[in-house]
Amino acid sequence: MNIVKQAAEVICNDQISEGVYDMWLKNMMISHAAPGQFVSVYCKDGSRILPRPISICETDRTNKRFRLVYRVLGEGTKELSRVKKGETIEVMGPLGNGFSIDRTGHAILIGGGIGIPPMVELAKTLQCKKTIVLGYRDAVFLKEAFEGLCEIVIATDDGSTGIKGTVIDAIREKNITGDMIYACGPTPMLRGVKALAEQLGIPAQLSLEERMACGIGACLACVCKSKDKDEHTNVNNKRICKEGPVFFADQIEL
């Protein structure tokens, strides 16, 4: 699929939870993204020179739109949160490779915090039995996107909704098992998922995050340690933006 770098019109950009924003953008090419792919979002303020990698939450090919759900973490995402409907922002994408879709058996989707958004498109795409385990610190968001698509299990750190604890605690408590794990979330959570997958003997696909510059595999900033030689340098350093961001858990070190 071709990568484009274009101005995309913002259709809406609303806060859906404390510091979490929901934005739909118009772009034909990016509306064809696969689940797990991401875009680079460029800031308008010249002091912020690097694009922000943000995973694609959902696509709508019919209306040539795609959705980003992002958390305001720094000045760049703060700027993004202030963009108004009708304005345009520069985006590049779709980037990276998405999840490998296994249409058979029982899929376990695991999303932690701002790792939840890419699970929406994945849940829409997977046509098999599926359970999603959503992990939050406190406030719940995007839960409604999974209603009618999968069985939903929620874990919160503070116990305000669902099981008190992590997504791993929830999986253990509910004895959830299946044939393929798909996960996106903070690195400590992914480490837990990797260990759990090994223990249960279930293959797991993990979507990783790292600071990026180019987003297209040229600068070699966002590497992770891999079991096999990488195609670029042959030194077991896979590029998260290019060979990733999704890797099978047994193929990488975390």
């Binding site: 020179i49 600071r211 297209i216 040229a218 070699l220 900033a221 340098t233 030194v235 290019k242």
Partner: protein, 310 residues
């Protein structure tokens, strides 16, 4: 209108090239940029054997710039010749191979592998701040700059560009040393050594603690150094450091650069190289300049000394 320039006897269709490390070997950016339009592709540093690079995080944004500590991850000269050279040779542009090493022998090994078939010029990286051995260690001492230049000159089949570090007190000393060692050209600046701390975690942002600062934030420093260096030597100078547009490139050319390189700007906009070329051309048209060579070093001198003293 002539936009072509000559560096070390090699003709460049225009002065705009890529800065090493920001453009890979061109493959990834060829989805956005017609490499045929560039004056040259300057490759990411190539060593004798594959290098793994540094621990992550390797990158941190700073105000108007960025720090990187990639650590020269590269597949080594064998893969480079086998895979990247045929790709680059399929385009009508000059190939400048950036060469890195931990010892003089490492550099020699790579330099000896590169002939007219594989490349057009060599750029010797004696200024990378992110590797513990080699790199900058060679580039901060004028004596060592001269020595490594003259040694490599004996082994090189191609013209030699020495890439200088800005992390020195006197850029003219290392520039002159490169010229004395027999360099055919010099390029500058490499990145400025910097640092960033995450105050919430009380940790360095980069795995390597320090990194090289690049981007628009460093342009005034780079321009000053290019001006000083180009007035200290007679060999051509390739200027770089924060160039994002035709206007930026023209500043370097007027300061004395024969060639210019676009680096970090590629991350800000994958079309940055092309936009720089177009910007130079439209300036020339608007100002009825028939030959870009008229602009090299054309900045008007006055009697004000260096350092901003009034």
């Amino acid at each position: 209108m002539n936009t072509s320039v000559k560096i070390a006897g090699v003709t460049f269709q225009n002065p705009v090239m890529t800065a090493s490390g920001t453009f890979g070997s061109g493959l990834e950016y060829s989805e956005f940029v017609d490499l045929n339009a560039l004056g040259a592709v300057v490759t990411k540093g190539v060593s004798n054997v594959p290098w793994k690079g540094n621990e992550t995080p390797r990158i941190a944004e700073t105000y108007g710039g960025m720090l990187n500590a990639i650590g020269l991850q590269n597949p080594g000269i064998d893969v480079f010749i086998e895979r990247d050279v045929p790709f680059l040779r399929s385009f009508n542009t000059n190939i400048i191979v950036n060469v890195c090493g931990k010892s003089t022998e490492d550099y020699i090994e790579v330099v000896e592998r590169l002939t007219k078939k594989e490349a057009d010029l060599l750029e010797i990286n004696i200024s990378c701040p992110n590797v513990k051995e080699g790199g900058i260690a060679f580039g901060q001492n004028p004596k060592m700059v001269e020595e490594i230049t003259s040694v490599l000159k004996k082994h090189a089949a191609l013209p030699l560009i020495m890439k200088l570090s800005p992390n020195v007190t006197d850029i003219t000393a290392t520039a002159k040393a490169a010229e004395a060692g027999g360099a055919d050209a010099i390029s500058l600046i490499n990145t400025l050594t910097g640092m960033k701390i995450d105050i919430n975690k009380r940790k360095f942002l980069l795995g390597n603690k320090t990194g090289g600062l690049s981007g628009p934030a460093i342009k005034p420093v780079a321009l000053r150094m290019v001006y000083q260096a180009s007035h200290a030597v007679t060999i051509p100078v390739i200027g770089m450091g924060g160039i994002c547009s035709g206007e930026d490139a023209l500043e370097f050319i007027m300061a004395g650069a024969t060639g210019v390189a676009v680096g970090t700007a590629n991350f800000m906009d994958p079309y940055a190289t092309i936009k720089t070329i177009v910007g130079i051309e439209s300036f020339m048209k608007k100002n009825q300049i028939g030959d870009i060579n008229e602009l090299i070093g054309c900045v008007e001198e006055n009697n004000r000394p260096f350092g901003g003293c009034m």
